[in-house]
Symmetry: C2
Subunit: 349 residues, 2 copies
């Protein structure tokens, strides 16, 4: 009797010969136990356990021509909402035996194409795109791939496939509208370069529309090029604001993190929030309600986006037909009005 070779991988054949059945039967006992005699099934299960058999998922994927991988493409882990969406997605998908393959999107065209090729090379069961801009070439690659794709966190003009998101233009409009209704008139908008984050430009367009509707000046735009999602960006934006638009009475920031940086900088300079300057963010981060003053912001149900994405993906993978009207879901958002934008006084509109 040869000594057991501890280095050699345990395969389905090892289990089969040990249990005295064919590999077919092992495969069936493990995946479709209802098709196997109870006795055989138990024997196989015990043997598999005894030998510490772990099925090779790559071999399974190959034989079945599909994998249990869900690819997630996202621009940044520094936005709390994205993380919560991933957690929601992960929780549901894992229960169904799927794994998450993560890819950061670094916005460079070449890197994007390479990332997409690597992802498609894994034959994922589905692809989730979080809020990311795609080149035409990249979009074509995804459309041709025949893999279910869900774009999230925005409502693209020409969806690749399915969409679960909300309108950034509406966010910008609603927040600006809120500030106007609270009595603010000289409102500035802090954005990042469109190339890096087209969504902030969409929100900006909503801001412009709201101000135009009221005949107010919509030209106060500050664009942050250095680490636009960082707290430091908030500090920089206050500096630019004071220099370029000193009479501003309210500012809408890129994210809550940026808004927090702006609030800190205001305190340092003795600028009172909101009586001297109102500040609003975007994303309703965990800290936002705890700040002093608490931060006005936009709330998106990030967990729900993740869960709904998972459910949609599962349906698509199961081959269920999706009504065209269910291919694009607008999850909406809400304005959370807090102390940082409290009413200026009784200026009527």
């Amino acid at each position: 009797m040869p000594a057991p070779n501890s280095k050699k991988r345990v395969t389905i054949k090892d289990v089969a010969s040990e249990a005295g059945v064919s590999w077919m039967t092992v495969s069936r006992a493990l995946h479709t136990p209802e098709l196997v005699a109870v006795k055989t099934r138990k024997l196989v299960e015990q043997t598999a356990q005894k030998l510490n058999y772990i099925p090779d998922l790559a071999a399974g994927s190959l034989a079945r021509s599909r994998s249990n991988l869900i690819a997630v493409i996202l621009p940044s882990l520094y936005f709390e909402g994205h993380i919560r969406t991933i957690e929601g997605l992960s929780a549901v998908m894992r229960r169904e035996g799927f794994h998450l393959l993560m890819g950061d999107d670094y916005y460079s065209h070449n890197e994007e194409m390479e990332l997409l090729r690597m992802i498609l090379g894994r034959r994922p069961a589905g692809i989730v795109v979080i809020n990311s801009a795609h080149s035409q070439e990249g979009r074509k690659l995804l459309m041709r791939s025949d893999v279910p794709v869900v774009e999230t966190w925005h409502l693209p003009q020409n969806p690749i496939d399915s969409v679960i998101g909300f309108s950034h233009a509406n966010v910008g409009f609603a927040m600006t509208q809120h500030l106007i209704s609270e009595g603010y008139r000289n409102i500035a908008f802090v954005a990042s370069p469109a190339k890096i984050d087209p969504r902030s430009k969409e929100r900006h367009s909503g801001y412009v529309k709201a101000l135009n509707d009221h005949g107010l000046d919509a030209s106060r735009l500050i664009t942050i090029t250095n680490n636009p999602l960082s707290i430091t960006a908030g500090k920089d934006s206050v500096e630019q604001l004071l220099e370029r638009y000193p009479d501003t009475d309210a500012m809408i920031c890129l994210t809550d993190r940026v808004a927090m940086g702006a609030m800190m900088e205001c305190r340092r300079r003795g600028i009172n929030v909101p009586s001297d300057l109102a500040i609003a963010g975007h994303g309703d981060f965990e800290f936002s309600e705890h700040l002093v003053p608490s931060l006005t912001t936009t709330r998106i149900d990030a967990l729900d986006i993740g869960t709904q994405t998972a459910e949609l993906l599962l349906k698509r993978i199961a081959g269920t037909d999706i009504q065209p009207t269910d291919k694009t879901i607008d999850v909406g958002f809400s304005i959370v009005a807090r102390e940082s934008s409290q009413s200026r006084g009784s200026i009527s509109l």
Copy 2:
């Protein structure tokens, strides 16, 4: 001539027949171009491009008996340092053609075993464990797997394999020491349950040692059971502190996020930081230096942990021998003393 079947996947054979060579040659032209005639190589490359050929990575993994996947097991995406480590890891690994497979560790024994089996079933080229507790059974599974494992963000007693981390006990000791040297005497420690996060208990042990060394009381322990990493945990801990140990003059929190919550709660209650109560955190989050007062904390070079982990993994994958002394790397940490723990006065030790 049959119409091209647009749904059928393009395989290596399609490229081969289109280019008029054998598939072998296609495989070689793509992976080891230096072994192929320039003319042939160019022809193959053009044909592959023309047909939009994307190699099936699962098939490749199977044939080669190893994948280009790196599995990452982590407890939570809500700790900034973990995210930065992942970014460092990802940046290096991607350059080398590896992908990250993410798994959240939910601390339940069953889930952990299932997660590990799924991960091992993918035959990853390496496994990175971020700061997570493993059952004996799970550890055995990993040790038996013959896959390089790097444990990070702590220094385990019995490493599974390689380690890149730091001593949490030393962190607790150093921070307590710092507070003592700043004149604080009644120091409390905020931890989470050991089952959820054994590292906070390790830091607590360092705290006890430091206080004992100075003959000070080391019994002020507050354990947070509800969302121990959240900002709300900071609020809760201040409440408990005032009730149970009202004469406390300094507190060491689980993370900067918790410390932030504690600071906010103090402001709400009119408790001055640091003159009434000093507060220290852990992790040096991005916001920590921006808080008012700025937050004293522990800094760990999280990006460096990621980069070093990647490099170690690449060496192991390449088969390079690692000296036993290089198997455990202590990256250390530093105490960042800021306003929230400024000197109490001139109490000499």
